[in-house]
């Protein structure tokens, strides 16, 4: 993953070299486009063996940031044609040696070194290297086709080719004489079906004479050999060009994909890679790797080959867009990085929100409470230019901040009672352990290390409950990956991950860290003692191999004589793990901005890249630098201009919902909403195990709930999935608020209006207070005039005011954080 990020940074750097001058100086993008440079990809050509080849693409960068595919227009020259041969934009070996290809376009010239080795050697056809990619490329081993668990129409391939040896056996030996015909290769069922010569449920997959066809025939003609010895594996996949900015619908960019192998060779696999566009609405990609711009937006275009998936971003702009970047203040590094991305997209961020909006938003987000009346006046009336920062600091120091985050963590750690496994007492101890850590601002790395490496009784060392919530080794490892690294690796249990780099090897090697967790009954029957057994292994599903522990995407550590979990925890919650800090930063970010930089936060994968990689990297870096003190991170986020943006959109950012160009409306989550209603109605709730008046946020047990909380989607903590917390508004929620017993009875129960009237407060004052309490603002003139009119007419002021109260609590302005 590090390689990706580094590469992408480079990408971005070179991509925007063109307008870095502009960005630093005036922020206007010149309408006239001047060619600034051309780039040729890949930057070097290595041809190994007679059938090798390499296609090149030429990308022109213009002063206004636009990129164009000028491969066809460029002039090509080979310094010494004795070594290489050019056909189109593809180079083929002729003889061993070194030369270079000069590519010129307009006034720009680039030289590409070319090296040819073993030009006269024909690499023998390989099942794994040549044939397996055909099944991937043409979709044969997809889940809907022969990759299905029981195969399709009597023939099965492993899903996305996770088991090439098995595929070889099934293809060649399962039903001998049917699928292959080595005597008449063209008449093999494999070929006839693929070419659509005979009926095939999957239809015609490739043309006669196409590369997949030729590859299969060559393999059959060679006698359908099995690969002898060790076959090189793909170590990395390169997809070129590194992104692009496409000027209007219909603009095209050819991609070229190169795979690097463990034996040091590389291959142009453009024709064998499977291309996927992350956003077909903005850019489509053909099966040959031709990107075509559609409507405005950004698409992550990926190439999949073997187990590797890599992608590049393509930005599509309306044709000939005129754009001026207004001078926009940057409060901190977050704004700098967000603006950088927005400039690329030609989007202007919204204006900063009002003080009232900010007060409400920050209070809800940071502390999960609504601002009290006094605080409201104090804040609104303050003339301090730093009052927002001060507010953030103030909120961060409230106990409610801690409670809110304890709740968030309790969800991730699944704190709840589990029949026969986690008793109420254990659960409570676990919760208290967590609360203590967060309240004392224990750095996240320490906390996670303590948690994952925990040994002892579930009463005496409550962190061990982590291994009681989930006792299945594989599930435990999946949870760890999902919570602390944001990755869903479940797929890789049965097959290589289809949209990520994780293979079954990775999966089982990672699971091996949890294979030696021992559990025994404590003295108290409710207590379990978790200890390191020091033995026990995880075996691979295919082939039943014992897997050595290996960090996900990392090294193979020495675990001999050590507690494997401690080894893992030490790596996991450390800067060596590239995912940990970024993942936690992303979780925090998603809490405040309503959407992760990677969304969902626990769905980190190659094919779901961060919308702003630099921002995420920086947040991760900062988080690490803060010694995993996320309070500081929250402060950075909440004091950024980006956080403070208004929900009001402008013309350029109206359609954007991913790049944080404006604030998003977010429904307030269940616990906070209930607490807020209780707060404004001045009523108290009673939850099991908690004193009267305790807040819903404080509920320790995931299994504790009530109708309101369930309706508004409180997490049951049965899984670690971020999707457990339901944030989507729905009809039953609306109906419950309108007719249910919560709002109405709480208004009645709190008797707020009655008390105020008793206090001889004027209806106007009471109205004012209601608005400030519920919406953190004063009623506007229109609202005021209408309500005053009603109040004047009605004799029963209390009824009118209570109705108003009810109406306010049912308003979307109340239900949403905005």
């Amino acid at each position: 993953m590090t390689s990706i990020s580094i590469r992408t940074i480079k990408t971005v750097a070179c991509l925007f070299l063109g307008f870095s001058i502009l960005a630093s100086g005036s922020t206007a993008f010149a309408a006239d486009s001047k060619l600034t440079s051309i780039k040729v990809y890949p930057t070097d050509v290595k041809l190994n063996t007679s059938r090798d080849r390499q296609s090149l693409v030429v990308q022109a960068l213009y002063s206004n940031g636009i990129t164009r595919d000028v491969t066809a227009k460029a002039k090509w020259a080979i310094a010494n044609a004795a070594f290489v041969r050019q056909d189109g934009h593809t180079f083929y070996p002729v003889a061993d040696g070194k030369t270079e290809v000069t590519v010129s376009f307009e006034n720009q010239t680039v030289k590409v070194p070319v090296e040819v080795v073993q030009a006269k050697v024909d690499r023998p056809i390989s099942f794994k290297l040549d044939v397996m990619p055909v099944f991937m490329k043409t979709g044969c081993n997809m889940g809907s086709c022969h990759g299905a668990a029981s195969g399709k129409d009597g023939f099965r391939l492993s899903l996305f080719g996770f088991d090439p040896d098995g595929d070889y056996i099934r293809l060649t030996r399962q039903i001998s004489g049917r699928r292959l015909n080595l005597a008449l290769p063209e008449e093999s069922l494999l070929i006839e079906k693929s070419l659509g010569k005979v009926s095939h449920s999957g239809g015609k997959l490739f043309e006669a004479g196409s590369e997949p066809h030729k590859t299969l025939i060559r393999w059959l003609e060679a006698g359908a050999p099995k690969d002898a010895g060790k076959v090189p594996t793909v170590t990395s996949l390169e997809i070129y060009p590194p992104g692009g900015v496409l000027d209007g619908k219909g603009e095209k960019q050819q991609l070229t994909v190169r795979a690097k192998y463990s034996d040091g060779t590389d291959r142009d696999v453009t024709s064998m890679a499977l291309f996927i566009s992350g956003n077909e609405n903005s850019a489509t990609v053909s099966k040959d790797g031709l990107v075509e711009a559609q409507s405005r937006g950004e698409a992550f275009v990926m190439a999949r080959f073997e187990t590797h998936t890599e992608g590049q971003r393509f930005i599509v702009l309306p044709k000939g867009l005129q754009f001026t970047w207004p001078k926009t203040p940057e409060y901190n590094y977050i704004d700098t990085l967000v603006h950088k991305k927005l400039q690329k997209l030609r989007i202007v961020p919204s204006e900063v929100c009002s003080d009232e909006e900010f007060l409400r938003r920050a209070s809800l987000d940071i502390a999960g409470i609504l601002p009290e009346k006094e605080r409201y006046f104090k804040f609104i009336e303050s003339k301090d230019p730093k009052k927002r920062e001060k507010l953030v600091d103030e909120l961060l120091n409230r106990k409610e901040f801690v409670e809110l985050w304890v709740m968030k963590w309790a969800e991730l750690l699944q704190i709840r009672t589990v029949g026969n496994r986690v008793s109420y007492k254990s659960m409570l101890r676990y919760y208290n352990w967590l609360q203590e850590r967060i309240a004392n601002n224990v750095p996240m790395d320490k906390m996670v290390q303590e948690l994952l490496g925990a040994n002892g009784g579930t009463f005496t060392n409550a962190a061990t409950n982590y291994y009681q919530n989930e006792t299945n080794t594989l599930k435990t490892s999946e949870n760890v990956a999902q919570v602390f690294m944001g990755m869903r690796i479940q797929c890789a249990q049965c097959h290589n991950h289809p949209f990520d780099r994780w293979t079954m090897d990775d999966y089982y090697s990672f699971a091996a860290f949890f294979s030696q967790v021992g559990r025994k009954r404590g003295e108290d029957p409710r207590e379990t003692i978790v200890f390191n057994r020091g033995s026990g292994e995880v075996r691979h599903l295919v082939g039943n191999r014992v897997m050595q522990p290996k960090f996900l995407g990392g090294a193979v550590p020495d675990v001999k004589g050590k507690d494997r979990r401690e080894v893992l925890a030490k790596w996991l919650a450390s800067p060596q793990n590239p995912y940990f800090a970024k993942n936690l930063a992303n979780i925090v970010w998603a809490h405040f901005l309503g959407k992760g930089i990677i969304d969902q936060v626990d769905d980190v994968r190659v094919s779901n890249p961060p919308v702003n990689e630099e921002l995420l990297d920086e947040l991760g870096r900062k988080f690490t630098a803060y010694h995993y003190d996320f309070k500081k991170l929250v402060r950075d986020i909440c004091t950024s201009r980006t956080y403070q943006l208004s929900t009001k959109t402008n013309k350029s950012n109206a359609s954007d919902s991913t790049n944080f160009a404006h604030a998003n409306l977010r429904r307030i989550r269940a616990e906070i909403l209930l607490d807020a209603i209780s707060q404004v109605t001045e009523t108290k709730n009673k939850f099991p195990g908690l004193p009267l008046g305790a807040r819903a946020v404080q509920i320790a047990n995931g299994n504790t709930s009530n109708y309101f909380l369930t309706t508004f989607g409180r997490a049951k903590r049965e899984t670690v999935c971020s999707c457990e917390v339901k944030m989507e508004p729905n009809l039953s929620q609306a109906l419950h608020l309108l007719n249910g017993n919560t709002v109405n009875s709480k208004i009645a129960q709190g008797r707020l209006i009655a008390r105020r009237l008793k206090e001889k407060k004027s209806p106007q004052d009471i109205l004012d207070e209601l608005y400030i309490r519920v919406l953190s603002r004063r009623p506007n003139s229109e609202e005021l005039s209408k309500l005053t009119a009603v109040l004047a007419k009605e004799k029963n002021k209390q009824q009118v005011l209570e109705d108003t109260f009810w109406a306010l609590l049912n308003s979307r302005e109340f239900l949403f954080n905005h």
Binding site: S176, G177, L182, L184, S199, G202, E221
Partner: protein, 900 residues
């Protein structure tokens, strides 16, 4: 249990099927006829629907309640109502969807149907959305009756049923082989059928020699089964997700005799009942369908299986049918009624194969769950169950003698006894062992694997006998390869022959040498003996001579010692004599002395001579001795040498003989090989030649088919023309009859008219008379009345007046009546005149029609004759082609015999 169904033997008719290009031929026929092509559902539209729509709109799935797989259901429409508006494609919902004029676009998730096919659909709907070709379809109705009198269970009479003369040329050869999909062995002949690509290969299971090729252009063969008597071979298969069929061949002739099945996915399992009345098939469609072999009609559909049908087999007595599926489900049905008899529960994975014991009392099944299970058929109990092949059992077969052959994913083929005891397992394949069969005639197990390798083992000793190929080489290649072998084999033979000859030569030489040595030895030995005698003799002689010489020497020595003194004495004596003057005494003495001296001198001389002579003899004899001794020595050496030589040569003879024998044997073998190869060359050459004949035959068969089609067409044309002619004749006859009838009517009418007119005239005259008379009468009356008045009512006059008045009234009444009658008559006349005119017109028309149709009918006569001639010509053509076919067949037989 079902009873055996006896069928009336219908005319046995082996279809004249060649293969696919039927549609093109049809088009050609159409083109030749220059008539608008009649587009029908069965022929043109269904194949399009099959490929594009059947996957969703079939009898089982019925997406949108629409089933396009048969005409009736198609015309019924789906949940959105009728989808075809006959004669108006624009109003047909189906057409609107497939042309993307309306949504949902069809076929769903697939490319639009090509315009050429859309055009066919449009033409079909606009042409009235016909179901089939009508008369033609009826004419082409096939009838087979292969019904046997009883289900055979024993060996059929006669020699083993082996294929006749079939093409051995593979339709094509692929670069690689693929998984073996089907294999079967004949129950009563050393014959194996192996599934190839769009063709089936027949091999002799003993010699492993290829016997023939059966084309299966429909696609992959997933199942092969011999009929229980071994006379038919059934193949089920097709093209995955497109078409599934079952084809049955006559083994002897190689002709297709049955084609049934219309699946929209390939057939995975099929069988023909032993009485050959039913064919059951199933596949991914999950439905078991049972067809009647005599009519080709669907008899039953079994829809109980929840997954792909993977195996089925009729019991050898044709009473039961066992079926099994990919989910482990297995049922036994009454074959003739398709009623459920047993549900066999036990397999936990795909049942891959089922096989009946020959007595139909036990069913064996095997599954991917690694087990083989045996089931009894009274209650469906599982009587045996054993783990047979790790990973899964792929194929099993009950042998004739109740053993079980199996193979599976452990790459091994095995044979078991019925108790599940492993009798033998065979060498492992390189990949999954997929299909197995046991050839009961040779006791060989034949199995094939995922790579397409097929091995044959002898069960008796477990040794691999050889291999078969699911992708055999082309005849040309075979020929070339054997031809290539000729030269090296020839060279080899020659080399071996030369070597053998050389070896013979060496052997002979050695034998001669040995004989010589032996001879030399004998001679030398003889020589040695002779020499020894000579030496002995010489030594004796020498001893004698030396004795002689010693005697002589002694004498000489003795004489030499006193002779000089004697001589002197003589001399002195003579001197003395002389001196003494011839004293006689003295002289006598001296003479005696002299005589003595002479005597002694002579004696000396003689002895000296003897000594010298003897010395010479001795010397000579010594030389002789030495020579003899030398000879003896030499001979002895010779003996030694010869003995050594013999010793050296003697052991060489045997190996040399062996070597020579071996060499002559191997050269003989090489000669044999060469001869065989040459024969093989000849065989493949002839086979290739035969291929030409097969091509000719195929062409002829096509021609025959065409001719027959033409014949049928001309027959129809002739009949049509005849019918037309008859029609005209009929019209003519009718018109003639009408003419005659009308003419009679005209005459009659004319008469009636004349009578009426006459009557009318009468009435007119009468009227005129009356009209004239009445005023007079009236006047008379008036005058009479006046007279009466004036008469003062004379009584008589009054009476007269009264009378007159009555008369006048009567007359006036008559007048009115007559006038009315006249009018009526006039009207009648007019009507009759009208009728007459009409009748005359009809008569004229009839006359004209008669004349015209006569002309037409006459005109048709030559057409009818021409059509008849054309028909006759086609009949002749058919006969000719048939003759040619017979000739070609004969030719082929001759050729085949020439290399047998």
């Amino acid at each position: 249990m079902a009873r055996r169904c006896h069928r009336i033997p219908v005319f046995l008719f082996f279809s004249l099927f060649v293969f696919v290009s039927v549609s093109t031929n049809d088009t050609q026929v159409f083109a030749q006829k220059k008539k608008p092509v009649k587009i029908t559902y069965e022929e043109h539209v269904k194949p399009i629907f099959r490929q594009r729509c059947f996957a969703c709109h079939n009898g089982n799935k019925k997406k949108g309640s629409l089933d396009l797989t048969n005409y009736t259901n198609l015309m019924l429409g789906g949940s959105s109502g009728e989808v075809i508006e006959r004669g108006s494609s624009g109003d047909s919902y189906l057409y609107m969807l497939v042309t993307h004029e309306s949504e949902p676009y069809m076929p769903a998730k697939a490319a639009k149907i090509p315009n050429t096919e859309l055009e066919i659909i449009r033409k079909w709907i606009d042409g009235g959305a016909l179901e089939n070709k009508g008369s033609k379809a009826v004419a082409a109705k096939k009838k087979f009756d292969l019904t046997l009198q009883s289900a055979p269970s024993g060996r059929p009479a006669g020699p083993p049923l082996m294929p006749g003369i079939l093409s051995r040329q593979p339709l094509f050869r692929t670069a690689k082989t693929t998984a073996l999909t089907a294999i079967a062995s004949s129950p009563w002949a050393p014959l194996v059928a192996v599934a190839g690509q769009k063709q089936i290969f027949l091999y002799n299971s003993r010699t492993l020699e290829i016997l023939g090729i059966l084309p299966f252009p429909e696609g992959t063969t997933n199942v092969l089964k011999f009929s229980r008597n071994g006379s038919l071979l059934l193949a089920g298969g097709g093209r995955g997700a497109a078409k599934g069929v079952v084809v049955v061949w006559n083994i002897r002739t190689g002709e297709r005799v049955i084609e049934v099945g219309d699946e929209f996915d390939t057939v995975l399992a099929a069988d023909i009942s032993s009485d050959q009345t039913m064919i059951a098939l199933g596949g991914p469609g999950r439905v078991v369908r049972i067809y009647d072999t005599a009519t080709g009609k669907l008899m039953h559909e079994i829809k109980k299986h929840t997954d792909w049908i993977t195996a089925l087999e009729f019991s050898p007595d044709s009473v039961l049918l066992a079926t099994a599926d990919r989910n482990g489900g297995m049922f036994v049905w009454e074959a003739f009624t398709a009623r459920e008899y047993l549900s066999l529960k036990g397999h936990r994975a795909t049942v891959t194969d089922v096989s009946w014991r020959i007595d139909s009392n036990v069913l064996a099944s095997c599954s991917e769950d690694t087990t083989i299970k045996l089931w009894e058929m009274n209650n469906g109990g599982q009587i045996r169950n054993w783990g047979a092949h790790g990973g899964g059992v792929e194929s099993i077969e009950f042998t004739r003698d109740g053993r079980i052959a199996s193979c599976g994913r452990d790459r091994v083929a095995k044979i078991w006894d019925q108790n599940g005891k492993l009798k033998r397992s065979f060498s492992a394949f390189k990949d999954l062992a997929l299909r197995v069969t046991h050839c009961d005639e040779s006791n060989y197990i034949i199995a094939g694997d995922w790579t397409g390798e097929i091995r044959v083992w002898n069960v008796a000793d477990g040794k691999q006998v050889g291999t078969l190929s699911s992708n055999p080489i082309k005849l040309e290649t075979r020929l070339a390869s054997v031809q290539q072998a000729v030269a090296p084999q020839d060279a080899n033979y020659k080399k071996l022959l030369a070597q053998a000859q050389q070896s013979k030569k060496t052997l002979d030489q050695t034998a001669v040498n040995l004989a010589n040595a032996k001879k030399t030895l004998t001679e030398a030995q003889k020589q040695v003996a002779t020499s020894a005698d000579a030496i002995k003799k010489s030594q004796q002689l020498l001893a004698q001579y030396q004795k002689q010489k010693l005697g002589a020497d002694t004498i000489v020595k003795k004489l030499s010692a006193f002779l000089p003194a004697l001589t002197i004495s003589v001399a002195k004596g003579e001197e003395a004599v002389k001196k003494s003057g011839n004293d006689k005494t003295l002289a006598g003495i001296v003479a005696r002395l002299k005589a003595l001296q002479v005597q002694k001198q002579a004696e000396l001389q003689k002895s000296t001579k003897t000594a010298t002579d003897t010395a010479a003899v001795i010397k000579k004899e010594q030389a002789t001795l030495a020579a003899s001794q030398a000879v003896s020595k030499k001979s002895q050496a010779q003996i030694k040498a010869s003995q050594a030589q013999i010793k050296a040569l003697q052991p060489k003879i045997k190996p040399m003989t062996v070597q020579f024998q071996a060499m002559s044997k191997s050269s003989a073998a090489a000669a044999q090989t060469l001869a065989t190869t040459k024969k093989t060359v000849k065989k493949w050459q002839v086979s290739l030649e035969m291929e030409k004949q097969f091509t000719v035959l195929a062409g002829l068969k096509n021609q025959l088919k065409e001719s027959q089609t033409k014949q049928a067409e001309f027959d129809a044309e002739w009949k049509k023309q005849q019918a037309e002619q008859n029609k005209f004749t009929l019209i003519y006859t009718k018109a003639n009859q009408a003419l005659v009838a009308n003419q009679a009517k005209v005459n009659q009418l004319k008469q009636t008219l004349a009578a009426t007119q006459k009557k009318h005239q009468g009435f007119i005259q009468q009227t005129a008379a009356l009209t004239a008379a009445i005023p007079l009468l009236k006047d008379s009356l008036k005058k009479t009345q006046e007279a009466q008045k004036s008469s003062g009512n004379d009584k008589e006059i009054v009476a007269l007046v009264t009378q007159l008045t009555g008369v006048v009234a009567a007359k006036e009444k008559i007048l009115t009546a007559t006038q009315q009658a006249a009018q009526l008559a006039q009207k009648d006349a007019a009507k009759i005149q009208q009728d007459l005119a009409a009748a005359e017109k009809i008569a004229a028309a009839a006359s004209k029609t008669a004349t015209d149709t006569k002309k037409n009918a006459d005109a048709f006569a030559p057409k009818v004759i021409a059509a008849k001639q054309s028909f006759d010509a086609t009949v002749k053509a058919v006969a000719e082609v048939q003759k040619k076919i017979a000739a070609t067949r004969l030719q082929l037989e001759k050729m085949a015999k020439s290399v047998l």
